[in-house]
Subunit: 124 residues, 2 copies
């Protein structure tokens, strides 16, 4: 994986009031759609359902790093990470797809520039 210094962005978002959080097929599709929207290349997608109405953990390995989703249907919450490297990739576009697919509210986001140049911006 190659990267230019200062191009590694880690966008963190905690969502609430979300629906579809135990829908394994939706979560896998959302990971792929988010990667496409971000302009990233999917290497593989892995999802795990905790059973019944419980949550799902899903991760897309990307050529540009990863996207992860952890869900808690019982509280309508989901924890999202989009970690992407390169000037051509846009984490925010990926997050927009995830928020839309789960009809969710963004509670809080953090945007961290990882590695060589670490800058953190908190948005509440």
């Amino acid at each position: 994986m190659t990267h230019l210094p200062g191009t590694s962005v880690h966008l963190i978002a905690d969502l609430s009031h979300a629906t579809g959080l135990s829908d394994l097929a939706l979560i896998e599709a959302t990971l792929r759609q988010a990667a496409l929207a971000a302009g990233a290349k999917v290497l593989s997608v892995h999802v795990h359902a905790f059973g019944g109405d419980m949550g799902v953990t899903g991760i897309a390995l990307l050529a540009e790093s990863h996207i992860s989703i952890h869900t808690w249907p019982e509280t309508g919450e989901a924890a999202i990470d989009l970690f992407v490297c390169g000037k051509e990739v846009n984490a925010e576009c990926g997050l927009a797809v995830i928020v839309e697919n789960f009809a969710a509210v963004i509670n809080q986001t953090f945007r961290i520039e990882r590695l060589s140049k670490n800058i953190l911006t908190e948005n509440e």
Copy 2:
């Protein structure tokens, strides 16, 4: 996945001066050892080598969320995330294993309490 509010911890660390960053077997073993040290249960481990002396992306899906490692051997850097839920799990213990296995220096860490109760602590 169940969690108590306020027990979801996301520990982010950017490492430098690290060795072994293109060693796929070491990275897979380190993910498993870090989960064990943190007191977490591994569901599955997925690693992808970008070829030759290039980097590796590795992710452990946990019953308690995930651990991810992205490496850049050409600069000696690695980006680490340990996202764990529950009072019995300790992300810092997992990070200590990773730092030791790669003989790395921690450049910067962020500790974020995810979901219901978001608190961020920056350590430089």
